[in-house]
């Protein structure tokens, strides 16, 4: 692992006779802000600040990568990075309350100290997508690295590097959408086409789409072409029904980009559990094209 400078904890450890960078050692971070995102209160966004500001430079990341959140005394969880590399001074993650670590994390408070290990994995293929149309299709709480991607592309320094940006994002109900203020702000812009949808809405003022993601994709996604890439991230059921729609629309399998999840521990391709065939989701992924996935066993 190439590291230009050692993190604070590594320097502390150097005094104990260590010189090699330890890829299992997290950067110490402080919880700076906690936002409850959804009406069921199962999703919270955690904003972290590095205890040693130099660690932020060492943590240089790309949209689509993830990190291990290290809750000292509980363990680590692999979570996609929700902030964008263009946002400085913090790193943001949105975490669903599921298991031991994430449940404990939900009970933590601003100011608490924990660790952050990464960035890990590959990213969305930003060089390939340069100068192309990008269609983002997301469902439920899998919208985190997609938020990172949108913020990254909309940054004034980057927007001209991409052609049309379309976003199809669905959740069960309006209250289950992540980042609602940002969604509303993106709706008002003319350099991104937002297609927000919910499975059902009981809010009479709901002014966006109603319908499942595959249906809205069929209605709103741009025509397929060499110049158009689709990034899909969502629950398996959404992917299962969206992929045939994209097929029907003529999207080539190497133009459909997906991000996988598997149980992970090390995050660096060593502990052995997250493999799909010969690839490790943590190190060789999590981002694969559909063309790649069709040559691999369906173990995800």
């Amino acid at each position: 692992m190439i590291m230009i400078q050692q993190p604070a904890s590594a320097r502390l450890n150097q005094k104990r006779g260590f010189t090699v960078q330890n890829p299992y050692l997290p950067y110490p971070v402080r919880i700076d802000e906690i936002i409850t995102e959804t009406e069921d209160k199962n999703l919270k966004t955690f904003k972290f600040v590095f205890l040693d500001s130099k660690d932020e430079e060492r943590f240089a990341y790309k949209a689509g990568q993830f990190a291990e959140l290290s809750v000292t005394g509980k363990g680590e969880i692999p979570i996609g990075i929700a902030s964008s590399p263009t946002e400085k001074g913090f790193i943001k993650f949105t975490v669903n309350k599921v298991g031991l670590v994430s449940t404990y994390l939900h009970s933590m408070k601003v100011g608490d100290i924990m660790g952050l290990r990464g960035p890990l994995g590959n990213s969305y293929p930003w060089e390939t997508m340069e100068g192309k149309n990008v269609v983002i299709i997301g469902g439920g709480f899998a919208f985190t690295t997609l938020r990172s991607s949108i913020v990254y592309m909309l940054d004034p320094a980057n927007r001209s590097r991409f052609k049309d940006i379309n976003v199809i994002y669905g959740a069960r109900s309006p209250g289950m959408l992540l980042y609602r203020d940002e969604l509303a702000a993106w709706e008002r812009r003319d350099d991104i086409n937002m297609h927000i949808t919910v499975d059902a809405a009981n809010d009479p003022s709901w002014k966006y789409n109603v319908g499942f993601v595959p249906t809205i994709t069929e209605q709103k996604a741009p025509v397929a072409g060499d110049d158009t890439y689709a990034i899909i991230c969502g629950p398996p059921i959404m992917i299962k029904f969206t992929q045939p729609v994209l097929d029907k629309m003529g999207y080539a399998h190497d133009h459909i980009i997906m991000s996988l999840e598997n149980r992970m521990k090390c995050g660096i391709g060593m502990c052995g559990r997250c493999n799909v065939g010969k690839e490790f989701v943590c190190k060789d992924g999590p981002v694969f094209t559909l063309a790649q996935l069709t040559t691999m066993p369906k173990e995800y």
């Binding site: 692992m1 960078q21 391709g269 502990c271 052995g272 799909v276 190190k283």
Partner: protein, 352 residues
């Protein structure tokens, strides 16, 4: 490269001498079985042994290995910040390790010493060891090393190859580390009939009775072998006990856990096994390898297909035969390997 001759009456004294500069490990009989352990003063390795019941991988990758310590006591300035544990990197010698087990470390090293990341725990432990391998004059009936890229006199991964020749040992020093160990033991007499090793090697190799075929594995389509009909049959009797993976010298998978006592704790890693459903279960309850057949297939696919494709350097198996000897339901990797290697979906006439 030098070949030494060690009179067996000088052996014990030489081993004793090395203990002043090395922590010496060797095979020792405990109850019914041999195992590798650190030799006490005046304790000698049992050089009449066949092989240890479990592989010596635990000397490089302990079954439980502390990685970091931490305090949860918020009155401490470094609370919740992980601190590294100083690991012992003093010189160690593994005397009597079988060539297959030493060679296994080289296969595992590809995982822990990768271009992008290096595992400091594994590498530090491995690099501290001098390997004095012990050639097998009489291999077991379950050994298939010669067709698994290894052999009873295999030298890769060894610093010294030791050969039992009646009332003496022949010792072929292969590296600087090996030379240093020989010097530390005070064994200096050069053999004038070093060529004898080659003859003994051929004799031992001809005793290996079982073979596997691996030549077609790389070229086969992953998804075709994955979907082959023989997995159900292969996995039928498996009880997912994990004995195969725990005894295997080339299995390295691990889990990471935090363990707390009061306000202090340790992050440690433990051996894990692809045989266990918890290995891959998602937080949501979804499990990509939730069924037994999927886990059995994973073990063989990893060793005999994914690894072969990933590193293009042979199978992830040295043919030690432990999994065959210890499997409570007689699943035999030799049979599975041949099924995979010979599988031709076009020729398959199984009732679909």
């Amino acid at each position: 490269m030098k070949v030494f001759t060690i009179d067996k009456k000088d052996w014990d004294a030489g081993i004793e001498k090395t203990k002043s500069s090395y922590q010496v490990f060797g095979p020792v009989k405990e109850k019914e079985w041999h195992c590798f352990k650190a030799l006490d003063k005046d304790e000698q390795p049992d050089m009449t042994y066949t092989n240890t019941r479990l592989s010596p991988k635990f000397l490089v990758q302990p079954q439980t290995e502390p990685m970091f310590t931490y305090t949860l006591d918020e009155s401490q300035p470094d609370h919740h910040i992980l601190k590294e544990i100083n690991k012992d990197a003093s010189p160690k010698a593994m005397v009597g390790i079988r060539p297959c087990d030493a060679s296994a470390f080289l296969l595992v090293k590809r995982n822990f010493d990768a271009p992008q990341y290096q595992d400091p725990y594994w590498l530090k432990a491995y690099n501290a060891i001098t390997f004095m391998g012990f050639a097998c004059n009489d291999p077991c009936s379950t050994c298939f090393c010669t067709s698994a890229g290894c052999g009873p006199f295999h030298e890769a991964g060894l610093d010294v190859l030791l050969v039992d020749d009646g009332d003496r040992f022949l010792a072929k020093s292969l590296t600087d580390k090996g030379d240093a160990f020989m010097t530390a033991a005070g064994w200096k007499a050069q053999a004038d009939d070093a060529g004898k090793i080659e003859a003994m090697k051929h004799a031992a190799e001809s005793k290996i009775g079982s073979r596997i075929s691996t030549g077609n594995l790389k070229a086969k389509e992953t998804t075709q072998i994955y979907d082959a009909p023989f997995w159900e049959d292969t996995a039928f009797s498996c009880i997912n006990c994990g004995t195969c993976t725990y005894s295997c010298p080339t299995c390295w998978c691990f889990d990471i856990q935090d363990e707390n006592r009061g306000n202090s704790g340790v992050r440690l890693r433990n051996w894990d096994s692809c045989m266990f459903p918890l290995f891959t279960i998602h937080g949501t309850g979804h499990n990509p390898r939730g069924a037994k057949v999927q886990r059995v297939r994973q073990r063989f696919m990893h060793k005999l297909k994914y690894y072969v494709e990933k590193y293009d350097n042979g199978i992830q198996c040295v043919g030690c035969g432990r999994c065959i000897r210890l499997c409570p339901v007689n699943i035999d990797i030799r049979k599975v390997c041949n099924l995979m290697n010979d599988y031709d979906p076009a020729a398959c006439v199984c009732p679909a």
